[in-house]
Amino acid sequence: AQRVTQPEKLLSVFKGAPVELKCNYSYSGSPELFWYVQYSRQRLQLLLRHISRESIKGFTADLNKGETSFHLKKPFAQEEDSAMYYCALSGQSTRLGGGADGLTFGKGTHLIIQP
């Protein structure tokens, strides 16, 4: 079974400080990992996917297969970064022809950036 763990329910840091949101996963194959962000009462938005190795809004995340982690980092937090952050995993499809069987999400981390 696949599982995503975000150990911190709440993370509070000061503006300008570095941020690291932790994500660990359990999956026997080669997963696709994602970070989604949800600003107050809005829809989830894709922030990062590991395969693209992009930096969005100053955030980066590196997949560490040895530690089964996909931590999200930003060197200098900004107040507009306050939001819920979800780590998610997509496993290999069980169906012929592939496709996506749905994402497994962590429980989320509420990031608060204090002025």
């Binding site: 975000q6 329910k9 696709e32 994602f34 989604y36 809005q42 829809r43 989830l44 938005q45 894709l46 996917r49 979800y86 998610a88 997509s90 169906r95 592939g98 496709g99 996506a100 069987d101 749905g102 994402l103 497994t104 999400f105 962590g106 429980k107 989320g108």
Partner: protein
């Protein structure tokens, strides 16, 4: 916002009442998903569809059914709503071909079962 809408956006209903939520997409994408979001649980997959009339169960499918009679619409039905189904429901579609496991989400439906 990837052309995904959900209706209604808010609904209050009573225990035992049937409820249907609608997800509509204008992207002509093959895969569609229903999730529920609850504090302390994150998002959990209810059902998904990989084509017209092709659906499968997710992690928390009990008490829910779905239908997809055309590409653009994916309906979620609570046959007899219970208070435990009070939640925010999100629909999602897959990304463009080549990125089928990247999902884009609708605005959500806030359902309260009294």
């Amino acid at each position: 916002d990837a052309g995904i809408t959900q209706s209604p956006r808010h609904k209050v209903t009573e225990t035992g009442t049937p409820v249907t939520l609608r997800c509509h997409q204008t992207e002509n994408h093959r895969y569609m998903y229903w999730y529920r979001q609850d504090p302390g649980h994150g998002l959990r997959l209810i059902h998904y569809s990989y084509g017209v009339k092709d659906t499968d169960k997710g992690e928390v499918s009990d008490g829910y059914s779905v239908s997809r009679s055309k590409t653009e619409d994916f309906l979620l039905t609570l046959e007899s709503a219970t208070s435990s189904q009070t939640s925010v429901y999100f629909c999602a579609i897959d990304g463009a071909s080549g990125t089928p496991d990247t999902q884009y989400f609708g605005p959500g439906t806030r359902l309260t079962v009294l």
